[in-house]
């Protein structure tokens, strides 16, 4: 990671820490499946978000996506997830989970859009922003993901439509 990228990463990470919607996220440690990555707008080169994951026992990993609401726009999160999750499976993850606060409508919307229903709802599990919120858990394997990614194949590297949001990190 270059110094400029590291600075951008730290700035986005600081914004993330102040956003209640990310209140559930733990600090990602080193993961064997994919490193933490910065999301940039491909046209402007501006840093807009972060994707990362933390490994869990049994070959599973939880992914985290954060698109800064002041820098991003609709569609960045979906593209970032599509690229990053494919990289995690390529890196050997057996199963990927997402733990999402119930009021994080952006991520809930993305997961709904790609066709993943929630598998568990831990009621009032997280205290953030002055009250308890449900934690919604999603989980999918490579087979599930391949079905989704087929729909987005044209936008991914090698496809005939370049992604709008992701550039070199």
């Amino acid at each position: 990671m270059t110094e400029a990228t590291a600075l951008d990463f730290a700035e986005i990470d600081a914004h993330r820490g102040l956003n209640p919607v990310m209140g559930v996220q733990r600090v990602a440690g080193s993961s064997p499946y994919a490193p933490s990555m910065l999301v940039r707008d491909k046209k402007s080169g501006r840093a807009v978000g972060i994707v990362e994951n933390f490994a869990q026992p049994g070959g599973t990993a939880a992914f985290v996506v954060y698109i800064d609401p002041l820098r991003g726009r609709a569609g960045y999160g979906t593209e970032a997830i599509c690229l990053y999750l494919s990289a995690m499976f390529d890196g050997g993850a057996r199963r990927i989970t997402a733990e999402v606060l119930s009021f994080n409508t952006d991520t809930v919307g993305i997961l709904r859009k790609v066709g993943f229903p929630p598998q568990a709802r831990m009621r009032e599990h997280v205290y953030v922003g002055g009250r308890f919120w449900d934690l919604v858990i999603y989980s999918f394997d490579r087979h599930d993901w391949d079905r989704v990614i087929t729909r987005y194949r044209r936008k991914l590297p090698g496809g005939d439509r370049a992604p709008a949001a992701l550039g070199p990190s």
Partner: protein, 185 residues
Amino acid sequence: MRQITSAVAAVLELDGFAWREAGPADAGTLDALAAVGSNRVLFNLPASRDEFLARVGRPGFRIAMLCTHDSKPIGAAATTERNNRSLNVQLLCFFIEPSEGALPLAAYVRHLFWSLPLHRVYVQMPLVPGADAYVQLLQACGFQDEGTVSEYAMVAGKPTDVAVLGLLRREFEAWCQEHEKRLLL
């Protein structure tokens, strides 16, 4: 299982059941209880007496207590994954006969809510043979089914679904009101 005598006073006694703090001297008894049925796999318990000895009372195995009935050990419980900001804790409980554990388990859960400013207690366990009895036990104590995460755990090399159950403080209070007023907080 043999009778045990202990200088440690019971924290809770109800209808012949008694919960007392488990210490290093109980490592062998805890290991024997863990060896019953699928207990060790269900609650990811320490693999041996020596591991119990190293973990009892430490992070990941706090509020470790032993349950006896007529001085015979019948089960144990502990907490793991405590979150002090969100006021929740993950419960581990393992009995010789889960079908007979409802009253003692409710007493232990009462002890958790009574002792700590908890909002919620939850359980996550792989759905291996023997899990149904614990799902029924937990539901008998007021826990609610919160879903099943597909193939989340690896058990003996095989992807296994994991059940999630949770109990809020207000739900436990309502449960006590309806089922066991002696445990009311």
